[in-house]
Symmetry: C2
Subunit: 155 residues, 2 copies
DNA sequence: ACCAAGTGGTTGACACGTCATCCACACTAG
DNA sequence: CTAGTGTGGATGACGTGTCAACCACTTGGT
């Protein structure tokens, strides 16, 4: 017979439930804010931020996907949509006939530059300000632990 | 002239970045697990878990939506899809001509009962086990703080 | 030179979430 | 009773994410 599952209870359940509720509400609010004060989706924001801040505004599609930890097909779809909206453009890659460079258009630059300021303010207001410096530090370490723990496991 | 945005840096940036990365990876893995070992989506799981554990298997649509903190239209769509898959059924409400009761079918009960055990194991393996009891406690309190802080603000 | 395998990227089908709109019924004031 | 307002819920359009299949090009072995 199977061992019965050990349900979460007490402090474990409290930690899990609170974490899940918090994370959902926080992410939800932030993405609605990005949407309403810049007209971009949260995905648009992530892509443009990665491409311009860390990729110099021009990157190969798979590199960009790895940078923001997305699947390649998700990135490809997203780039297609953003291209239609004029935020990005595709360029051919001379070195590799299969490849494509993704570049931020002037409109794309303008969009994140305008959006980034608002976004950081919301992050401050909803998240940073809720916590003391030592709580922030604790959360940083806790998140790191969970990340490292997950990376040890294959699935 | 506008005040320049105060970018995140140091411990603030570390906390935010780590938190975001952790939360995305964790949620992503968990939902893929639910999908692959029960055939249900993460949304199916949430709905069935709420309905059966806290609603006795039979609830009004809006009550169910409030219970899991979803918008009514999201819930309505989800119920439609789950009804097609045989996990839920709609029943008319005698007291209120507009209303609808949502009930879990036998197949629905079977599905969460089977899925719940796996799910709690994954939560343990990926999350609980990564942290010490005192870290869990800290995270519970931190999440609570953020939640309370957000509830004070209107948007 | 050639073929197999790998890599970079696209595509289509489908499930999901959001927003705005709409509809039927309920409740209240007059 | 009836007009207006509120509430429970459904719906359609649209943007987004995932999976599996696919295609074109490159690379490495023989």
């Amino acid at each position: 017979m199977d061992a019965p599952p050990r349900w979460l209870a007490g402090e474990e359940k409290a930690a899990w439930d609170n974490f899940i509720r918090m994370q959902e509400k926080l992410i939800g609010r932030l993405s609605r804010h990005v949407q309403s004060d810049s007209g971009m989706s949260a995905s648009d924001y992530v892509v443009l931020a990665g491409l311009t801040e860390r990729g110099g505004g021009r990157m190969r599609l798979l590199d960009l996907a790895k940078l923001v930890e997305w699947e390649k097909s998700r990135m490809s779809h997203q780039v297609t949509r953003m291209t239609k909206r004029g935020l990005l453009a595709r360029e051919e890659c001379p070195d590799d006939g299969r490849g494509a460079f993704i570049v931020a258009t002037p409109a794309g630059y303008k969009a994140i530059e305008e959006a980034a300021g608002h976004h950081v303010e919301h992050v401050r207001r909803l998240f940073i300000e809720a916590l003391t410096p030592s709580q922030l530090k604790a959360l940083a370490r806790i998140s790191e632990h969970v990340l490292e723990h997950m990376e040890k496991q294959s699935d």
